[in-house]
Subunit: 435 residues, 2 copies
């Protein structure tokens, strides 16, 4: 403990720390946040579209008129006023009749996932998740020392037959799968949506297998073409844990999310959350409650839908016009992300330094898999940048890819054979600006 | 999963959940928050002493003028502006030369403790902690499936010889102690302070034993009689993790705390925090940064010292005037709490329902021990209530105790022999209003 080596604490760490190493691409993302870089990497909403004057006035009053409460401790489960408003938001998504008593307010959707992992996962347990899946969830499962078994998707979302196969394979290997983690609607990062028919099939499969479902639904309200399919939780009350957040529909800077959980489990989640953060921020809760009570939040969601649809269209047409032959991508009907598949032989992670040098950033596909696959993929965000910036970003990205392909044509595959080793997801986890 | 029993999820829970049960006194605390009850139970600061108009104005501007940043995602470690201000706050406590790069911003001090537990504790590991100790820390250690070994205190804080004995006993039992968790200054709940001389002794003992030190210092600035002794971290840079919070000096409702950690460990803490909450609230961070930059926060700390000194004096003189013979209590020179020891035979937990009926609340001592002891103790808070309310609360409490003693004199000890079983700390953990 008194030496001068880089890390004198190695022999004291818990076992869960052993797999954690700093990502080599983290440093790149720091550069990617410079204004001259077009970032297609983040998952940030377009906050400037909010009525900031009115929001500021509301926040000011929370301090001056209600500070003795809004700046004080709250309670572990979260305030009942907010939990009632949350039930109204869920009703807009098609989940009716939920009780505020079964809602637990969390520090964003991230803490919700972490609490569920702590509640259910012992080291060695298996979690099923779409492949690719949300990088932050993979980080949670890694911290819980769980193993992730990916279930492939196509344009209609997770493939039910593949889910059945995965469940059977896990059972054969003598391990225990505790839950399916799924983002059925406008999936992060794939941008696809689980079809109506498959929703019922997936629920039936999980019910038969005694597998819990953790449904993560941050984007469900951000639909561009009519309403999204009903959430899984709207179809089954038991065995489904519904997680969502105000990060995409209001403001990620307040860190307010929630879990809707079966009643018996809810009490345990509250105790878990108290041991983790004591209570969610009273001020952030009051801000969201006021926002939902006094401001036209449904209209704001509509406005986000329109802004993001325009941006998705801009991104898709730029990809269509500019991407080299052999590149394919998904066509999301909502949410924030497009998932691109590169021409054979290109490596999105190896290409990152050159992309940054060309002033464009994305998230390499490997971050979204627990098993090191995804080198041929990248996630592209369309919520944060203007249509013009999106097109410019794609132009820069296409230039880098053309150059890589040209190098490959000249020098062969050896020119980019590095960075192919299997890694773990958390090591590649981008910073939180990439939510 | 489709049955109708109370908890269909029992067979799916992680092992860490098994010890968790809802506390029977939680329901009482819900009643204790009613206005007619004088609560000596909480750990809430007196927020009404803040200049709420000015704070509200500042919060409003953060939304209206800086909303595009303050309502957006932040970064996992926390913003550098805030980390620089935090180093200034630590300098006021006597910790000079800390680098903002080694500070991790957390969701209150609670998340700081939880991150350190996740970093260092495997199931079965041992944590040393003062007996009694902070109930929220005991909850963290229980969730980490660690065992707590208490080290007794006297009026000068933790007893060094007892610490040495504890370390030896743990080594003899073949278990591994990872760190000492200590609140050396104005301890919660005991209200005592580790003396200058013992600070050096405790550090020497831990260094010799290769034991890390987690120093929790939420109250150090709230000194009533000159400055507090230098924190442990001001005496040793290596092996000491310093945790503090703005909950007692500014506002708990924002949930902003921090860890000052050795550099190599800091990176791992950031990754742990990202897997837990993605990032701390940008808005809360901006609020604290603005508060520390533009408002007279040092004067506000002085003002809190004066208010709390007056209230401590009021509580101590009420105890002196009104408590039945045989009651003893500590004489804190700072912080928020007095620790009382009841006359032989009285049980603070068993007495709670009668106290609530008499419209006074406190926290029974058992919540502050991991081993079920503390039935003869209670924690009394003096930061939240006015001097008049404090005296009225003690009057009511003394009445309940006199009545208990009278019953005991008539019926003998059998009248209150219940509730003596050993429990675990988390089961008794009061809600977060009791921080």
């Amino acid at each position: 403990m008194t030496g001068t080596t880089q890390d004198d604490y190695t022999d004291v760490y818990a076992r869960r720390v052993r797999g954690m190493t700093t990502s080599e691409i983290r440093a790149l993302f720091a550069v990617a946040s410079r204004p001259e870089v077009v970032s297609l990497a983040g998952g940030a909403p377009y906050i400037a579209a909010l009525p900031l004057d009115a929001v500021g006035e509301m926040l000011g009053r929370l301090g001056s008129e209600h500070g003795a409460v809004s700046l004080q401790y709250s309670i572990g489960q979260g305030n009942v006023d907010l939990r009632e408003r949350i039930c109204e938001v869920m009703a807009l998504s098609g989940i009716h009749g939920a009780s505020p008593d079964d809602v637990v307010v969390t520090v964003g959707g991230q803490q919700a996932l972490d609490l569920l992992a702590r509640l259910f996962l012992d080291p060695g347990d298996v979690v099923l998740a779409e492949g690719p899946s949300y990088v932050g969830a993979l980080g949670v499962f890694q911290a819980a020392q769980a193993q992730v078994h990916h279930v492939p998707m196509d344009d209609d979302g997770m493939i039910p037959a593949a889910l059945e196969e995965a469940i059977a394979a896990i059972a054969r290997s003598g391990r225990r799968a505790k839950f399916l983690y799924t983002i059925p609607t406008f999936q992060n990062p794939a941008g696809v949506t689980l079809s109506e028919e498959r929703r019922e099939q997936v629920l039936d499969i999980c019910e038969r297998a005694g597998l819990l479902v953790v449904e993560d639904d941050p984007y469900g309200l951000l639909s561009f073409e009519g309403d999204a399919p009903l959430p899984l939780r709207a179809r089954r009350r038991e065995g489904v844990f519904y997680v969502s957040t105000f990060s995409k529909t209001f403001a990620p800077g307040l860190r307010v999310g929630w879990i809707l959980a079966p009643h018996a489990v809810r009490e345990k989640l509250v105790m878990m959350s108290e041991a983790n953060v004591l209570c969610p921020s009273a001020f952030a809760q009051a801000a969201v409650t006021q926002y939902l009570t006094t401001m036209p939040w449904r209209e704001q969601v509509k406005s986000y839908r329109e802004i993001y649809r325009e941006r998705r269209d801009a991104l898709l047409s730029a990809l269509h016009d500019l991407m080299p032959a052999g590149t394919t991508w998904t066509h999301p009907t909502g949410g924030l992300f497009v998932w691109a598949t590169l021409p054979e032989g290109l490596d999105s992670k190896a290409m990152m330094p050159r992309a940054i040098a060309a002033r464009v950033a994305y998230v390499p596909g490997t971050g979204f898999y627990a098993d090191g696959t995804g080198t041929g993929n990248m996630r592209l965000n369309f919520s944060f940048s203007s249509p013009e910036r999106l097109r410019e970003g794609v132009r820069r990205l296409a230039g880098v890819m053309e150059q890589e392909l040209a190098m490959r044509a000249v020098f062969g595959a050896a020119g980019q054979a590095h960075h192919r080793r299997r890694g773990n997801a958390a090591a590649d986890a981008p910073g939180p600006d990439l939510a």
